[in-house]
Amino acid sequence: MIEFQHVSFGYEKNRQVLRDLSFRIERGEAVGLVGPNGAGKSSVMKLLLGLLEGEGQILVDGLPVRRDTLPEIRRKLGFVLQSSDNQMFMPTVYEDMIFAPLNYKLSREEAEARVDEVLARLGLEELKHRYNHKISGGEKRMAAIATILAMKPEAILMDEPSSALDPYNRRVIINTICTLPQTKLIASHDLDMILDTCERVILLSEGHIIADGPAEKLLQDRALLEANRLELPLSLVGRTPRNAAE
C-alpha cells in the first residue's frame, strides 16, 4: 500500500533529516513510527502526503507521489494532525466533517449521510452541531479523527494522536484507533499507545531506520530503545515509575 524507496530529505542542503529510507507497509497493517525528537517521523508523513518533496521514490498503491498524482493520493490517505486546532478550521464539527466529502464531489445529501454514519460509529452524535472552540481537547481530537474518517480514506496517518490528552481520553482514542480497519501509520512517542494499536514498529533515529519489526518484540528491547532516547513502555516494565525509582 505504501512504499518508500531510497528516500532522502533535508530542510537545508547539508543537513539531511531522512537518509536513504526504504520500507513497505502492506494494506491493512498498523505501523508505529517511533523515534526521538528530530528523528524525521513528521517528515516521513509529510513526504508521503506530498507536503514536502525529497529524493527517491514514494509509492501509494503503486502510484508515485508526484504533483500530478497528489489529488488521487491525498484522497487515499487521511492525515490526523498533531494539533487538532489546526485540523478543525470551520466553526462547527459538522461543517468541518462535511468539508472533505463536498470537495470530493459528493452531493450534500450523500455527504451528510456519511457525516452521520461516522459520528454514529464513533458515538459522537452529540458533537455534530457543537462549535469547535467550545469542545474539550479530547472531544476535538475525536472530532479531528471523525473529519478524516468522513473522507473514507484507505490509509490513516496520525501524528502524535495521544498527545496532550488525559488518561481517559487517551484510552478512548486508543480504542477508537484499534477499531479502524484501514492501514495505519502512527507517529508517536507514546510507546504504550503504539503497543496497543500497532502490530509493527519502525524505529527511526537521525534519519535512518534503526529497527523494523513486530511491536511486541521491538518495544521490549530496552537496550535498543534507550540507545535511541526512548524508554520501555510502562505496561511492559510491569511496575509504576515510583516503584522503578525505588
Partner: protein, 264 residues
C-alpha cells in the same frame, strides 16, 4: 485577547441563531443591506429629517431577529467613534446658519456633521445585522451568486477564518510576555519589533498548517460555502417589501408628514 477571540466566535453563534430573519435567503438579506446602505448614503448632507426615519428598518430587524441592540453597539465600540469622527470638523468649515431655534443658531456644518454620523451609524448597524443573522459561508455563497469573483470571496472567507488564528497566537504571546513582565501594562515599545515579527512568523506557520489540512481534505481553491437554499416566495417578498419600504422612506417626507399630523 481571550475576549477578542470570544467575540469573534460570538458572531458565528449569533449568525447560527434561529429567527425569521436568520431563516431568510442570504442573497435577499445581502441585496437588501446593499440597497439600504446605498439609499442611506444618497441623502443630501443637510437632509437630517429625511434620514431619521431610515432608522425604522434596523429597529424592525433587531426586533424580529431577537438580537439585542446593546450587542451591536458593544461590537461596534471600536469602529463607531472613528465613523463618528468623520464629520467632526464640518461645523468649522460650513458656518452658514440654516436654522434658528430661539437664540440658538444651527449652522450647515452641524447638520452635515450629524447627517454624516447618522449615515455611518446606519451603515454599520445594517452591516452588523447582516453579519449577525447570516453565517459567513452563507454570505460568501450569496456573494458568489452575485457573481463576485471567486478569488475575492475566498479571500474574504479565509481572512475571516485567519483573523481568529492570528488573534489566538497574539493571545498566547501576550500571556507569555505579561507573565514575565510583572507590573507592566501592555507590551513595552522596545519589544514591539520582535513581538510583531514573531507574531507574523507564528501566524504564518499556523496558517500553513491549516492550509495543509485543507489541501489534504481535497480543497481545490473552491469552497462549498453553504447548502444551496432555494430562493422562496418568502425571500422574494422580503426583498420586494424592503425595497418598497426604503423607496417610500426616501420619496415621502415621513418626518414632515408626521410632524404636520401632530401640528394639525
Amino acid at each position: 485577547m481571550q475576549k477578542a477571540m470570544h467575540e469573534l466566535a460570538e458572531m458565528d453563534e449569533l449568525a447560527m441563531r434561529s429567527s425569521p430573519i436568520h431563516e431568510l435567503h442570504p442573497l435577499a438579506k445581502l441585496i437588501t443591506t446593499i440597497i439600504y446602505i446605498l439609499i442611506t448614503l444618497s441623502y443630501d448632507k443637510y437632509n437630517l429629517s429625511g434620514l431619521v426615519p431610515m432608522l425604522l428598518w434596523p429597529i424592525l430587524l433587531f426586533t424580529i431577529s431577537g438580537i439585542e441592540v446593546r450587542i451591536c453597539f458593544y461590537k461596534l465600540r471600536i469602529v463607531l467613534p472613528l465613523v463618528m469622527a468623520v464629520g467632526l470638523f464640518n461645523p468649522f468649515f460650513d458656518r452658514a446658519i440654516m436654522l434658528r431655534i430661539g437664540p440658538l443658531a444651527v449652522s450647515g456644518g452641524v447638520f452635515s456633521m450629524l447627517t454624516l454620523m447618522i449615515k455611518g451609524l446606519y451603515c454599520l448597524m445594517a452591516s452588523f445585522l447582516l453579519m449577525a443573522t447570516t453565517p459567513i459561508d452563507s454570505l460568501c455563497a450569496a456573494l458568489r451568486q452575485l457573481h463576485v469573483p471567486k478569488i475575492l470571496v475566498t479571500l474574504l472567507l479565509l481572512t475571516y477564518r485567519y483573523v481568529g488564528v492570528m488573534t489566538e497566537e497574539l493571545a498566547v504571546m501576550t500571556d507569555a510576555y505579561l507573565l514575565r513582565a510583572p507590573g507592566q501594562k501592555g507590551i513595552h515599545i522596545s519589544a514591539w519589533g520582535s513581538f510583531l515579527g514573531q507574531l507574523l512568523l507564528r501566524s504564518m506557520d499556523r496558517a500553513q498548517e491549516l492550509y495543509a489540512a485543507m489541501l489534504l481534505r481535497g480543497y481545490n481553491q473552491q469552497f462549498h460555502y453553504a447548502e444551496a437554499r432555494p430562493f422562496r416566495i418568502r425571500d422574494a417578498l422580503y426583498l420586494l417589501g424592503c425595497i418598497l419600504f426604503f423607496l417610500l422612506l426616501r420619496t415621502v417626507k415621513v418626518a414632515q408628514l408626521l410632524g404636520g399630523m401632530l401640528v394639525r
